[in-house]
Amino acid sequence: MTMLSYLLLSGITTGALYALVALGLVVVNKATGVINFAQGELFMVAGFIAWSIHVQFGFDFGISCAGAVLVGFVLGCAIDRVAFRPLLRADVVSIVLATVGISFMLKGIGRIIWGGKGDYLSFPPITSTDPIMLGDIVIVPQQIAVLAGALAIMIAFALFFRFTRIGKMMQATADNAKAATLVGIRIERIYTLAFGTGAAVAAAAAVLSAPLTLLYPDMGFSFFIKGFAAAVVGGLTSLPGAVVGGLAIGIVEALAGGYIHSSMMEVSAFIAIMLVLLIRPTGLLSFYKARRV
């Protein structure tokens, strides 16, 4: 029973990391219909920005967090201007390739700026390093911080899309860009905002998870793959789906690793994705909309 509890907790924590990356992907996809393949590299760059502000320049953690989120937002907007807007009328493959190109560029920049400072940089934990006992279970406080962060971001975005004017405009643009234009929504601004917001989410995720993951310039791709998988499982446009997808993948990995063999950890997540897509091609929490005729 203790083993199951530990594995579940481990799966939830790792899953929360995936969910954080998936949330950024979903925010962009929800508004633009595009998967930003540079999301993992945005996560990496934002993590290093926070590290530089906090560790190199000695500023407070809060300032480093705000700085990383701000830089992430600006970078996201820049990606929209450089890689998305000029290709608005191009086919989706061109747009996807542009984001792939941006991801390579960001990785190169990461290697040049932070590649020569240590093989894996550690980020000081934002919580105490002393484990907390919960009955027989030991929990590292940083893991709770990651989980809480994922939930907070998810709730914030759910409220944003439901109750704010801009959120509703983003939803409308995602549903039907032409109709949104007809009712006066300036969809280019919405796209910029979506890319910026998605990157800001990646930045917040990076700051929260950096103490658990360590920082290195090549870290982006593995996070992107797991985040993308989580977003696919959740349905690509559903924010709760991204969180559920991330947690599901994390838990499947942990249980397979603990009860079958550790060699199954990587494979099991992708087997789970294939099964989900076979049974529900639109993802766990994405539903076809019924249209009245």
Binding site: S10, G116, S209, P211, S222, G258, H261, S262, M265
Partner: protein, 397 residues
């Protein structure tokens, strides 16, 4: 003047001009790539950027200061050493083009370098075909030196030597239940396979054999399985990132075996920082290719040279890798004599016996059939909050 006399005069003048241009350089060396009357061009490759820069750029800095010292003392048999650096970015395809550039474009006489194993292994064929002498600094892949290529000599501990040493160390520590946690990419397999062979040779059965991916962010499943097996020693065939995650989760779950690392986790101070949980590295011991830690007074001379030439840098173990390999290359170049040819340098490298240099734990010995010239891993550890200490040296047969 008769025609034969004029011809003789012309030949004599040409000979004088040739002698003047050649200076004191022996005629045999003139036809060799990368050699002039007063210089020997040596190429080096490795990662200058990215996580592998420790084994590339920092090792190159070590080579650089050795060459500076040699040049200050007059060079090797009258020729100054010139180092040409290239970045292979730890990427196998880039390593091949980098080596081709050094050999055919830069026309270097010999190569010294190689940080990331996979990249150096990929470049082996190109180097072997070019018949250019190559001294390996830090790449550990067995395939680089086995089967031996006539012109490639490794001053790095190879992966099979390290794997044997890890097992020896576990047994020396009195471990009764040995487990392994490993990465199974090409880097990991290059160590895992010889480790399994060493275990088989000794008739030892592992109590657990777990895997981790290089990007793992959690090791709860692995730790729980190893804990259930009752392992008292865990051989880690991991990069620093998964190793740090493993050590952190082991501490969290109260699993405290002896943790046995290898040169992939060659800096216990950085590792303690990466793990970030107090006490988690208390039973961690790892292999070093060199017998000194960067703070040891025995390497004061090299610390001064590195920190003077590269302001902002602090002497690191990785600098020492380059220093050791460069000293070996310089000695072989000296022994090859003033009529320097690639063949002579290769012959001298193959004939090195019990050569002591400043930093390696044991003497360097190469032979025509075994080009794994360094077989003395040093065991290092760091008590939490304390300095890094060299615990012992193993001679792997």
């Amino acid at each position: 003047m008769p025609r034969t006399t004029r011809l003789s005069c012309a030949v004599a003048i040409l000979a004088c001009v040739a002698a003047a241009l050649g200076g004191s350089a022996p005629a045999a060396a003139q036809g060799q790539p990368g050699i002039t009357a007063d210089t020997i061009k040596i190429g080096t490759f490795g990662a200058l950027t990215g996580p592998g820069y420790l084994y590339g750029k920092l090792a190159m800095n070590g080579i650089d200061v050795v060459f500076d010292e040699v040049n200050k003392a007059g060079g090797v048999n009258g020729r100054k050493l010139q180092l040409i650096r290239e970045d292979d970015r730890c990427d196998p395809a880039t390593a091949i083009t980098t080596v081709q550039k050094l050999i055919h474009q830069e026309n270097v006489f010999a190569l010294i370098g190689g940080g990331c194993s996979n990249a150096t292994f990929a470049a082996r064929e190109t180097i072997e075909q070019a018949k250019i002498p190559f001294v390996v600094v830090a790449s550990v892949h067995d395939g680089i030196t086995q089967p031996p290529a006539a012109n490639i000599f490794s001053m790095a501990l190879t992966s099979s030597i390290e794997s044997q040493a890890q097992l020896e160390f576990a047994l020396q520590q009195g471990a009764k239940k040995i487990a392994v946690v490993s990465m199974r990419d090409s880097w990991g397999r290059a160590r895992y396979t010889p480790l399994m062979e060493a275990l088989k040779t000794k008739g030892i059965t592992l109590v657990a054999d777990e895997e981790m991916s290089p990007d793992a962010n959690d090791a709860t499943a692995q730790v729980l399985r190893l804990k259930q097996s009752g392992a008292d020693a865990v051989i880690m065939v991991l990069f620093p990132k998964p190793a740090a995650v493993f050590a952190r989760d082991a501490q969290k779950l109260g699993f405290k075996p002896i943790l046995i690392g290898q040169t992939g986790i060659g800096d216990p101070a950085a590792f303690e920082d990466q793990v970030g949980v107090p006490g988690a590295t208390a039973k961690f011991t790892t292999i070093s290719m060199v017998k000194y830690t960067p703070t040891d007074p025995a390497v004061d001379k090299w610390r001064t040279l590195i920190e003077t030439k590269f302001p902002g840098d602090r002497l690191s173990t990785f600098n020492l890798f380059g220093i050791g390999a460069a000293q070996v290359l310089v000695e072989a170049l000296k022994r090859a004599g003033p009529d320097l040819t690639r063949e002579k340098l290769i012959a001298q490298l193959a004939d090195l016996k019990n050569l002591s240099v400043d930093v390696y734990p044991g003497p360097i010995t190469c032979s025509p059939t075994d080009h794994r010239c360094n077989k003395y891993p040093a065991w290092i550890a760091k008590e939490p909050g304390g300095p890094i200490k060299v615990l012992s040296i193993t001679h792997v047969q």
